[in-house]
């Protein structure tokens, strides 16, 4: 009696979740705790915090995984409209920090509406394409492009180039899986390259500085190039096997900036070397592979488009963060999924993966 109750309880809890994804995420979680303990100078307070928000993220993931995607889908339009209105609110009454206006005070707390858009936009597009699935023609792609550009421009205006790129990227991925013509994709790519000089002229000084620093960090080794140089030294000096846990000199002598958040990979890489990097990359590749499999098996167009967009966005986070820390991409504020310390980012990733698990659950029935 007792045993079967425990069993049933376990099944009730585990049933909505995807076993493979959960195992892979647990692997990343273990590595992230090890890296955080070192990066935070062995701060138990940060470990406690991380445990709390990880538990919260798991709960949210579980709740979303239990819900039917058909139910969640009804939230797409209201969420999108609310997101755009909040972005307009930011434009009008936002709080300005360091020259950019990203936050909105809604009485109880400060929120960053561009974060909501990261999930709201792909949901909106997936819902929209499913609604007109049978009558799909080029006009719908134009409408979809407008749906992408409205929040994109509002976020660009804050200005927040990093988030604008991520949001528009998520929208583009949905379009891509919806069957956007290759001609347009390639033509758009060429047009983008051609427009780079114009973009350069529109950029803010600090953004140009980041790009120039990327090309030659030694241009400004004590200023903008400092972060990149120090994190490259950390990675490079880790060698094949790393310096060992809690033994990274770059980390513990405070050379690495933002070392618990955006640059935590430099800490990990210094202490665990190439071997550690390959292990982490393998876990991420496993997560991405599993997510794409779920995408492929999804029974509805909504499910396929949303799952595909979430998967590619997840990959972009991983690639952009590691590329930045390794000095091949400019420094933009993108956290490394489930590794970087920070509740907001973790919860929003968990929301995405929870919906994806919900989509995955549907096929098994």
């Amino acid at each position: 009696m007792q045993v079967s109750l425990a069993k049933r309880l376990t099944r009730a809890i585990m049933d909505p979740l995807d076993g493979w994804l959960l195992a892979l995420l647990a692997g990343v979680f273990v590595l992230s705790m090890i890296a955080l303990f070192s990066a935070s100078n062995q701060s138990w307070a940060k470990i406690d915090n991380k445990l709390v928000y990880t538990a919260l993220s798991l709960l949210i993931m579980w709740l979303l995984a239990r819900l039917s995607p058909q139910t969640v889908m009804h939230l797409a339009l209201p969420l999108y409209v609310a997101g755009v209105l909040l972005l307009v609110g930011v434009e009008l009454f936002g709080i300005t920090v360091n020259g950019s206006t990203r936050w909105l005070n809604v009485g109880i707390a400060r929120i960053q509406p561009s974060e909501i858009m990261k999930i709201a936009l792909p949901m909106m597009l997936a819902w929209y394409f499913q609604k007109y699935e049978t009558t799909l023609n080029w006009r719908h792609y134009v409408v979809a492009a407008v749906l992408i550009v409205i929040p994109g421009l509002l976020i660009l205006k804050q200005p927040d180039l990093g988030t604008a790129t991520l949001v528009m990227g998520a929208g583009f991925f949905a379009l891509f899986f919806a069957g956007l013509s290759w001609k347009i994709i390639i033509g758009g790519g060429v047009a983008f390259l051609a427009s780079l000089p114009v973009v350069w002229n529109l950029m803010h000084d600090y953004q140009r500085k980041r790009v120039l620093t990327l090309i030659d960090p030694m241009e400004d080794p004590l200023g903008a190039g400092y972060h990149i140089i120090q994190s490259m030294i950390a990675i490079g000096s880790g060698g094949v096997w790393g310096k060992g846990w809690l033994a990274g000199s770059q980390t513990h002598l405070d050379y690495i900036p933002e070392r618990t958040t955006d640059f935590i990979f430099a800490v990990y890489s210094e202490e665990f070397g190439l071997a550690g990097n390959l292990l982490l990359l393998a876990l991420y590749l496993g997560i991405i592979s599993r997510c794409l499999l779920i995408t492929a098996r999804a029974p509805t167009l909504y499910g396929r488009l949303l799952a595909g967009a979430i998967t590619l966005s997840f990959f972009v986070y991983v690639f952009v963060n590691m590329g930045m820390v390794a000095g091949i991409l400019p420094v933009v504020g993108v956290p490394l999924p489930f590794m970087s310390y920070g509740g907001t980012a973790t919860v929003s990733l968990a929301i995405g993966l929870g919906m994806l698990m919900g989509i995955g659950k549907l096929q098994r029935r």
Partner: protein
């Protein structure tokens, strides 16, 4: 399922999706392989290079500090300079037993309890891997003795550093301010302004006075050196070096000789003096007495000195010249007279009675004249010369506050002058709005806020709600002297770029011209000149002048005297005695200097403040010095430039 039935062509669509998923997957794998390639490049092929850079916790990129810019007076005499000396620094991270090390170091060089206390304070403010100074300003012998013993102490270094020095101490503290160690607050501010990079390795920053206001000019630009280190962390060779750009030199309009003479004329008395060149707005002297030694603050003031400065009832830390707010007393009358002429409330040479007291229609309250017998009758010029109170009571009453306020505001009274110092007080040029705002608090009732007819009367003689800083009075006097050309008074007149020797002038031309009539300036000046002539309140001080001088005496009440009572200095505590004011400029025809002097609790303007101005003018215009202060003056060496090499900073 239902949805599946709605699909146009499930097979084509599904195939297209699989194809796209495959493309996306291959793309992602390819990008991850690119990352792997990057890691292999960094961690395998470039391993040696990066391992050397990170080895033994050595710093591979060393910031080279720029030399802080000098501050010189208008003749090139150095008022703030740098000199090289040695510091003993400990890096807590690299030392196993800090206490034992400090004890052992105490056997080599003397370490006082003050050094220890300061060390503990710095230690608490810095991170463990940052070097913290234990001893400062060591001489060559101490540095050499330590160098011979350093092998015994890992984590201990002797460094050559440039120190800031203010050779004239109390004389310049309220002008120059001082630099101090960069604390947590400054660190945050630098980070917010994105200046952290330029302050890497820097220990000090301007905290007060010109040192703070012109920080960006004085600090300069960081240089850096890329250094290869061996396994023990010793520098093997310099790979690349970018020289720092030293700070710019500030040349002041201030004349340190004049400042010194003014200081000695004050002696031990409290007060302030501001002298301005009316032709340029340059501040020739700015004195606030008593003063303090700014050198105490550079490396953290010890608590005993701080206690005695901070609790001193004479408030030596307050810059009275720009922050002290005093009722202007009768020095207000020339400006009031100017306003009356411009408003048409009186015409030049219109003769009016100047009796012993003034009463408002229907009131028995007597506004008394400082001369109880009155001054008979007078025109405006004579009323200024004899300082008739009743004459100005009547003028103010006739004009009303709404006409007085905008005209006097033209002289910059009641607003910041815009001098290049922080913390300037605004003062009060009263108006109806001001009174309503001032008494807006719930503690006050409506009758406190309402403008009463009687309020305007005492304002006419510079009492009542009026309060101004000595700087504002000097600035207004300079405007009057140069017929309405308005400058923002400025201490710095020229900034010399350290890279190319190019100079930048601070406000070379006036920013506005006051809209007043020339004949009115001339008339008021005539009245102020008459102050210094027989019959005027300052006639004694006008004797034996070798140039023409215009002035106005003033006495500012500190406490209210009861109706019918008499002011009796002897019966009042010193802090309650009247302040002695004097404003003046000379020569009248072509003014070269305008001054405002206040001596606190010293009584009549003519007895304390005016003699200081007269002696100062004598010195500035003819070079003559009173015998009693000649022996007390400082000796100023001619400017000694050069002798500063960046290499000592390493």
């Amino acid at each position: 399922m239902k949805q599946a039935a709605r699909l146009k062509d499930p097979h084509t669509e599904e195939r297209q999706l699989y194809w796209r998923l495959l493309v996306a997957y291959l793309f992602m794998v390819l990008m991850l392989l690119l990352l792997v390639a990057r890691f292999v490049w960094l961690q395998v092929f470039q391993y040696e290079h990066f391992a050397t850079l990170a080895q033994n916790n050595s710093i591979s990129l060393v910031p080279v500090q720029p030399n802080r810019g000098l501050i010189v007076d208008r003749n090139g005499i150095e008022l703030a300079r740098n000199y090289a000396s040695y510091t003993l620094e400990l890096t807590p991270d690299k030392i196993d037993n800090l206490d034992a090390t400090i004890k052992a170091l105490g056997q080599v060089v003397p370490i006082t309890p003050r050094d220890l206390k300061r060390f503990q304070k710095f230690l608490s403010e810095s991170k463990d891997f940052e070097p913290v100074p234990l001893r400062l300003k060591m001489d060559d012998v101490e540095a050499a003795r330590l160098a011979a013993n350093l092998w015994r102490f890992p984590g201990v270094e002797v460094k050559a550093r440039l120190y800031r020095d203010y050779p004239y101490k109390e004389l310049t503290s309220h002008v120059l301010g001082y630099i101090g160690r960069i604390g947590p607050r400054e660190k945050d501010r630098l980070a917010a302004d994105e200046k952290t990079a330029n302050y890497r390795g820097a220990t000090h920053i301007g905290k007060l006075g010109l040192e703070a206001v012109y920080e960006d000019d004085l600090h300069g630009q960081n240089g850096f050196e890329e250094i290869e280190t061996d396994s023990a962390g010793r520098a093997v060779r310099s790979l690349r070096r970018t020289a720092p750009v030293h700070g710019n030199t500030l040349q002041l309009a201030l004349d340190i000789h004049l400042q010194d003479v003014a200081d000695k004329l004050f002696g031990a008395r409290r007060g302030a003096l501001v002298a301005i060149d009316p032709g340029s707005g340059g501040v020739l002297a700015l004195l606030s007495k008593p003063s303090f030694d700014p050198n105490l603050f550079i490396d953290g003031i010890d608590s005993q000195s701080w206690q005695s400065l901070n609790s001193d009832w004479q408030r030596p830390l307050i810059n009275r010249a720009i922050r002290g707010m005093y009722p202007p007393g009768s020095t207000f009358k020339p400006f009031m007279g100017m306003a009356a002429l411009e408003a048409g409330a009186i015409t030049p040479n219109e003769i009016r009675p100047a009796p012993g007291y003034f009463t408002l229609p229907g009131s028995s309250h007597q506004f008394r004249d400082s001369n109880p017998r009155g001054n008979g009758s007078a025109n405006l010029a004579k009323a200024i010369a004899v300082s008739s109170d009743t004459f100005f009571y009547k003028l103010a009453w006739d004009m009303g506050i709404d006409r007085i306020h905008p005209l006097l505001a033209q002289f910059g009274l009641g607003s910041r002058t815009g001098i290049d110092l922080d913390g300037e007080a605004v003062g009060v040029l009263p108006s109806k709005e001001w009174k309503a705002r001032r008494f807006a608090g719930t503690r006050y009732r409506d009758e406190h806020r309402r403008w009463l007819p009687a309020d305007v009367v005492s304002i006419g003689i510079g009492q009542g709600f009026n309060t101004y800083t000595p700087l504002q009075m000097a600035n207004a006097t300079a405007m009057l002297a140069n017929d309405g050309k308005a400058f923002h008074p400025h201490l710095v007149q020229k900034v010399t770029d350290a890279r190319n020797g190019k100079t930048r002038l601070i406000e070379a031309a006036p920013y506005k011209q006051l809209p007043f009539k020339q004949q009115h300036y001339d008339y008021i000046k005539q009245g102020m000149r008459a102050v210094m002539l027989p019959g005027g309140t300052g006639w004694r001080l006008g004797q034996g002048l070798q140039y023409s001088m215009a002035g106005k005496t003033g006495t500012a009440q500190v406490v209210q005297i009861k109706q019918g009572a008499k002011y009796n200095a002897g019966a009042l505590a010193e802090q309650h005695r009247d302040h002695s004011w004097f404003i003046a400029f000379a020569p009248v025809e072509q003014p070269k200097i305008a001054v405002a002097v206040i001596v606190e609790n010293a009584g009549f303007g003519a007895t304390a403040a005016a003699p200081i101005a007269r002696a100062l003018f004598d010195y500035y215009l003819t070079g003559k010095l009173p015998d009693d202060i000649r022996g007390q003056l400082e000796t100023f060496p001619p400017s000694a430039t050069g002798k500063q090499d960046a290499s000592v900073a390493r």
